[in-house]
Symmetry: C2
Subunit: 414 residues, 2 copies
């Protein structure tokens, strides 16, 4: 008897009909001879509706009360799913995060899971129940309801799979896996069968939002293999796992795109310790997130510093920096919208040179101008004009031979 943890996102339980389909799948999995634990998100739209209500009550609602409020979304979706399973002849029971034994560090709205006491779940599994756990939540050691941050149901599923020593963890979503690129942009983009945790993290951080990053990090830390797959179609998805030797044969796993970016460049920043610190401390204090940060020293005692951020965060960042830049003694600031980020990701590039040159050459050949470049061990990201993103994506996807079947140009030499 194997144990499978299945997680269903908000779209998968978005209405009665979809909940019923989830219930059918749970029953089928159970009938196939598995023990089943399901983690359920709030029905699509419910969390946003609750947040809207909270904002009507308070410009800055207390985080503790936000947790009490938002946890109800997953709680009700879990109960409804259990009802659906029972109505279809299955045997299900729903548990809140607290009842499932999920204990957090107690930090409201972004709690970390401290530990899981799976006793009650194990007892219910032994009684042949399909156990349905409300995602996104746990309780502090003092018993306060705490939530795990947006997308936290992914983390609930991965952590339960680890605590229960599950044989499989399936993340059901409205896409059928992770693709080599966005299929709406690159029609011959193909589903990736296997992906390394680090690759998925870079793809997720770069806009392929199929999973919460913290959940992937948790899976990596505890070696929990999982599969991202479609809740609508019964087809294999993408399996995320530890790196295996043959995974490194593929130099570039995929191309990730992120739109709606903005760029701020501060020119002539005095080249002395603390300048960059002052800028990003101010940005963090304003609760704005930056993505790429690139600095070039000019050799004349000043540096040019650029960073990207979400387009919506540009105006508050500009307002704040307009005051700060003169104090720093910097020369000027320019803010640009209409930019986008393209990243090529692959653990294989660690050991294979030439990825950067191939990327830059293909973009050049496509007539795409590169504004910023940033690299990590397994990623090269460029910022380009948003109007050129589709063309750049198609050219890059082709240059690295990512369409199926893969030509030998994207595999390592033997």
């Amino acid at each position: 008897m194997s144990l499978i943890v299945q997680k269903y996102g908000g779209t998968s339980v978005g209405n009665a009909e979809r909940i019923r389909r989830v219930a059918e799948r749970l029953i089928a999995t159970k009938k196939a001879g598995h023990d089943v634990v399901a983690v359920i998100s709030a029905m699509a739209g419910v969390t946003d509706g609750l947040i809207k209500l909270a904002r009507e009550m308070s410009a800055q609602p207390s985080e503790r009360e936000m947790d009490v409020l938002l946890a109800t979304g997953e709680q009700s979706a879990s109960a409804l799913t259990a009802m659906a399973v029972n109505a279809l002849g299955g045997k299900a029971i729903s548990l809140t995060g607290a009842a499932a034994g999920i204990v957090t560090d107690g930090v409201h709205t972004k709690a970390k899971i401290a530990h899981i006491s799976p006793r009650q779940i194990n007892e219910l599994l032994a009684e042949d129940y399909i156990v349905i756990v409300a995602g996104f939540q746990g309780q502090s050691p003092q018993g306060a309801i705490t939530t795990l941050g947006r997308g936290g149901s992914d983390l609930t599923a991965i952590a339960l799979a680890a605590a229960l020593k599950a044989d499989d963890c399936q993340i059901f979503t409205d896409v059928d896996g992770v693709h080599t690129c966005d299929p709406r942009v690159v029609p011959d983009a193909s589903k990736i069968d296997e992906i390394a945790y680090d690759e998925l993290l870079e793809m997720a951080g770069a806009g392929s939002k199929v999973m919460q990053s913290r959940a992937v990090e948790f899976a990596k830390k505890f070696g929990v293999g999982f599969e991202v797959r479609s809740s609508q179609k019964d087809v294999p998805g993408t399996k995320a796992r530890e790196v295996t030797p043959n995974m490194e044969d593929v130099v570039v796993r995929g191309v990730s795109l992120e739109r709606n970016q903005a760029k701020i460049t501060i020119c002539g920043v005095p080249d002395r310790p603390g300048s960059a610190g002052a800028i990003f401390a101010a940005i963090a204090a304003a609760n704005l997130s930056v993505d790429m940060i690139v600095q070039n020293a000019s050799g004349t005692g000043t540096a040019d510093l650029s960073f990207t951020l979400q387009k919506d965060d540009l105006v508050p960042a500009e307002i704040m920096l307009t005051r700060l830049v003169p104090k720093l003694g910097a020369a000027a600031m320019t803010a640009t919208t209409g930019v986008a980020k393209l990243s090529v990701v692959g653990i294989g590039m660690r050991s294979h040179a030439g990825v950067a040159s191939r990327l830059f050459e293909c973009l050049g050949a496509a007539g795409v101008n590169i504004q910023l470049i940033s690299t990590s061990e397994i990623k090269i990201a460029v910022v380009i004009d948003e109007t050129e993103l589709d063309r750049a994506a198609q050219a890059t996807h082709a240059a690295f031979g990512l369409a199926q079947p893969r030509p030998p140009s994207n595999t390592a030499p033997t």
Copy 2:
């Protein structure tokens, strides 16, 4: 420092603006020097919406899952109210029923409160919080979410007032108290200042649905005085309490009306033990509620048995009894809709004769035909044609001198 428990119903927290008004009142009560515990119902419409969702999932959803589902309505309304108090400069914290220490007998959808451990509430009060408790719910000794039945927030408030030894318990609702009759029918109906628990029970059972009956019974058992008052207007309401000698001076406290009734009469029921039992066992098994039951033995070995029920329950009752009546050897069955119930209620009638005759005479003078009569120690109820109900109510209200100021005819002779 006195402690006040305030309960707000679903209409009182029906939207953001109303929740803000509740928050203002809580803050004002706190500023007046009281400790404040608030019990909050689900926002109007939310519970019905959740029930509708559950019915979409299952014709007969499990009671355990219904509790998990429905408890979210009060939980979210409590969090929103706490946010509103905090936004207005107060200091509030919300607690689920479980966190408030409310332990039930574990019977799903109609749990009884077993005991309350008010430690956490007392600690929070000592830290100067306005403590906001989700109504209608508690947890079983095993930690399962259990709800107290429709209207259960009233019970939460009364039980907390008892456990906390509160100085006052205020039930805020969308009416400004209990009236001598429905003001839409009897324009000179007046608000009752003081009412005995038993009178309120009979009024509530007879259609003046201002409070859940179980809550009133609990208040009576533990001697918890409470006040039913308006959440919209800041005016005194109706105080429910133990009988005091001068309360008995008023023979009739009010006239209660109930529409949408139906009546079933079974004629020629063999006058032997078990006949009535068989009928009502079948009705209870079909989950139908009956109200009045009247039986008259004819002296010829058979009896005529009549009972009333909600109009909506008539068809299932008829279907069921059509099969049963021949088996019992009864002669015939007739079912009537378009009837209504009128009750006069007053603890004073225990010690004062003549109430029945005055009621029947006044109805006769008004040309209203009485179909059934039933009495309790403090109530006389009649079933009449629904089209005659308004005229009957006006005549009765006048006959017992219930309009303000009260004429001496309705007070006991001194």
